[in-house]
């Protein structure tokens, strides 16, 4: 995955370190031992050894890589789920962004490294000099490496200086020449290394990561992750080293699971295990659960305690069962879906329903009715409240497991298919879409604003927070220049395609999703050349990271901030090394879509074109 050129900095660093030090020990240290102090070379030697050890650990130790989430973890979160999820950390709202590569919401302080293409816990930066990410597990080694290297360089330089000062008359002699060379190398690199060491010293004292410092996350306000200077230092140096997440897992013995299953007694009755009591209490509220039929049968057959023959159902072997159940639940959607267009009298809806579904997949299909619904010219209007409640209800069912339970929540995933068909049904009767569509309920309270609101919940959170003071908004991109932002906003129409649920735009731009440029599709989208840490490119990219994310927020349609489905990756997936590809992609976008249409009308046109069955150029998806 990494090109061989990625190994150049690390091998250069290693070679320089080892060779310079070896030359120093061979040529300079004998004289130093005799003339300065006998203990001087051993001290330098120990520091050197320590530096090499830390360098090795920083290079080879896993930084805290998160394994990618399985499909089944992701299937609860469908496409309507928001791009960000807010969580409160010590009283400060912190946003967790959905990682489209790893398929989970990144924990706080986690970031996705584009070079390594994985999410890293407590991501600091990707260091080219060790060719590794610096994250939670290996930050202390990196930090100690910097300190020890600075000390070592200081020792080498001063030792060499003492030698040279004593041998000024014969600088062309071998020992002196070598010492001079070593001195110049160490002197040359001493300043940057010392600067970096001091920078990280400040970061450790303040309890920040490089990522947070460079993106200016806590610039104006409170850092919820700091524990105070002393405790931060203690945490960095002496916290236990966590084991790897990836890699081998155990020799775990799978636990057999076989029915009959014990169920808790109902609350209204005395705790007596009786099947008769359980059955009636369970049926009414959970009517829609598939399991309702099963408890009845289960309880009827529960009396025999354990079957004589054990029938182990191993967890691993249930992958096939899981696929089956997934297929079944997905089958509900197409069955509910395909019958509806036949019933409706509107042929345009048929086209819209079917075509994106086939091509994009079931995840997007719930969006399609809304895309259609949002076009008033095509649809008759219906009771908006009805649709809104239906929408919010279906959505709240989807997200019931995510703390937005406004309706009594049966198992969300079980109901996804049902709510999918609910939304189809509700939107089949053409619905006039409201101004603020709330198909995505990312956060909580902001949803209560009604149709009049033009902002996304996420955006409202941000806007709500930013006027006060910088901090409750977890991400403060203060360094944005207005002209840059506006230019980025203009260029963001291509990005709208990736956010099909734009509340203020008229149409959900699903068909246009396919016109995403090619290079935003996979790991290659992360950028051809990740900038090195400390380089200008890196700083630009991190600025771009800030710009881009901010432009996401500030754009009205960024509220929709939904995640792309698995099939496509976000075109503007912001991470540190995005700079070259970011600008490159923006150029590509602007070339492809030269007319700067507002996203709503653009989507509108697309939908109309679609309805007419035009062929659109579809690069790829």
């Amino acid at each position: 995955m990494r090109r061989s050129s990625a190994y150049i900095p690390v091998s250069t660093a290693a070679a320089l370190l080892v060779s310079s030090s070896t030359l120093f020990f061979v040529f300079t240290c004998p004289w130093l031992a005799e003339n300065v102090s006998l203990s001087f070379p051993p001290c330098v030697g120990i520091v050197f050894l320590f530096a090499v050890a830390n360098f090795t650990m920083a290079t080879f130790m896993d930084a805290g890589v998160f394994p990618r989430a399985d499909d089944d973890e992701d299937k609860d979160e469908d496409v309507r789920a928001p791009l960000y999820r807010t969580v409160e950390v010590r009283g400060v709202q912190v946003r967790m962004k959905w990682c489209s590569s790893c398929h989970f919401y990144r924990p706080p302080r986690c970031s996705h490294c584009s070079v390594c293409d994985h999410c890293v816990e407590d991501f600091d930066h990707h260091c080219p000099w060790v060719n590794n990410c610096i994250g939670r597990r290996n930050y202390r080694f990196f930090f100690l490496f910097l300190l020890s290297l600075s000390l070592h360089m200081a020792g080498v330089f001063s030792g060499g200086l003492l030698y040279v000062l004593d041998h000024l008359e014969d600088l062309w002699e071998l020992h002196a020449a070598v010492t001079l060379a070593v001195m110049s190398v160490s002197g040359l690199f001493f300043i940057p290394v010392l600067g970096l060491a001091c920078f990280h010293l400040v970061l450790v004292a303040r309890g920040r990561t490089t990522n947070e410092q460079v993106t200016g996350k806590f610039q104006g306000g409170v850092n919820p992750f700091t524990r105070g200077c002393r405790l931060n230092l203690q945490f960095v140096l002496f916290s236990p080293i966590m084991p790897r997440y990836t890699g081998k897992l155990s020799d775990r013995v799978p636990v057999p699971v076989h029915p009959p299953f014990h169920h808790p007694e109902s609350q209204t009755l005395t705790p007596v295990k009786s099947s008769e009591n359980c059955v009636p209490s369970q049926t009414p509220p959970v009517k829609s659960l598939e399991e309702v039929d099963d408890p009845d049968s289960k309880h009827r057959t529960s009396p025999p305690p354990l079957p004589p023959k054990p029938d182990p159902v191993l967890l691993k072997n249930h992958l096939a069962a899981l696929e089956e159940s997934l297929l079944q639940s997905r089958a509900v959607m197409p069955s509910g879906h395909k019958t509806n267009p036949l019933q409706t009298s509107e042929s345009p809806t048929k086209v819209l329903y079917q075509v994106p579904r086939d091509q994009i997949g079931t995840r997007i299909s719930p969006l399609v009715p809304q895309e259609h619904a949002s076009d008033p010219s095509l649809l008759q209007s219906e009771n908006p409240e009805n649709s809104l409640t239906l929408n919010s209800r279906s959505l709240s069912l989807k997200h019931s497991h995510r703390r937005v339970a406004e309706t009594p929540g049966p198992s969300a995933s079980v109901l996804i298919s049902r709510s999918g068909s609910l939304s189809y049904d509700s939107l089949l009767r053409p619905v006039e879409r409201l101004g603020s569509q709330t198909p995505f309920l990312p956060m909580d309270s902001s949803l209560s604003r009604g149709p009049g609101c033009n902002c996304s919940p996420v955006f409202m959170n941000i806007s709500r927070h930013s006027p006060q003071h910088r901090e409750p908004s977890p991400v403060c991109y203060d360094s944005l220049a207005k002209p840059l932002m506006s230019s980025i906003q203009e260029r963001r129409e291509p990005d709208e395609k990736d956010r099909p649920l734009a509340p203020n735009s008229g149409i959900y731009d699903i068909p246009s999703r396919r016109s995403l440029p090619h290079d935003f599709r996979g790991p290659s989208s992360r950028g051809p050349t990740p900038p090195a840490y400390g380089s200008r490119e890196f700083l630009l990219s991190s600025a771009a990271y800030g710009y881009g994310s901010r432009s996401h927020l500030s754009s009205s349609s960024s509220s929709s901030l939904t995640r792309t489905p698995r099939a496509a990756s976000s075109p503007l997936h912001f991470n540190r090394s995005l700079s070259p590809s970011f600008y490159h992609s923006l150029d590509r976008h602007s070339q492809q879509f030269p007319s700067a249409l507002p996203s709503s009308s653009y989507g509108h046109q697309k939908a109309l074109a679609f309805i007419r069955g035009e062929e659109r150029p579809e690069p790829e998806l």
Partner: protein, 173 residues
């Protein structure tokens, strides 16, 4: 050991991986994975490893609230113990520095020991409490400590000929 269903009818009904049905009299219900519930991390105290003890609604009919909360609280305690910065972690850190980190090749750190304890605890909980209720807890380590994954199994009754047995057993209730 999983063997293929013996009879042709059984083969058509059940996936291969499910239990074997040796004869119709011994038909029993197979369990199939219905759903997975994910217990998310609780970040209110920072990035320490702690899981939410909020009882998920999907488990409402499957397990008692107290049992579930006990499990999660115990896990949280274990993780807190593992991540505690105190005497032993200082000792490990200093020893590691002194031995140029070679000590990691020889001994097991305290975190690893606690993780083994956690693994044993989860295994025991699964065997005693969760599997009889048709649930299985997956060690969060497999998910990068981001979620506790609870697999919910449902009793998928065998169809057709097994319904006879179920009715007979129900009548025998």
């Amino acid at each position: 050991m999983i063997s293929a269903p013996r009879t042709a009818t059984d083969r058509t009904k059940l996936p291969y991986c499910h239990e074997s049905f040796h004869n119709l009299q011994e038909l029993r219900h197979s369990a199939s994975l219905a759903n997975k519930v994910f217990i998310q991390r609780d970040y209110t105290d920072g990035t320490i490893c702690k899981f939410q003890t909020k009882f998920p609604s999907e488990l409402d009919s499957r397990i008692e609230r107290t049992l579930f909360e006990d499990t999660v609280k115990t896990l949280n305690n274990y993780y807190a113990e593992a991540e505690k910065i105190g005497g032993q972690s200082y000792l490990e850190g200093c020893l590691a520095c002194l031995t140029v980190y070679l000590i990691f090749l020889c001994i097991e750190t305290r975190y690893e020991k606690v993780l083994k304890k956690i693994s044993r605890y989860i295994q025991e909980q699964n065997e005693k409490i969760y599997a009889p209720r048709g649930l299985l807890i997956t060690d969060p380590l497999e998910r990068g400590m981001r979620v506790i994954e609870i697999s919910v199994y449902e009793d998928r009754g065998s169809s057709g000929s097994s319904s006879g047995s179920s009715t007979t057993s129900s009548s025998g209730r």
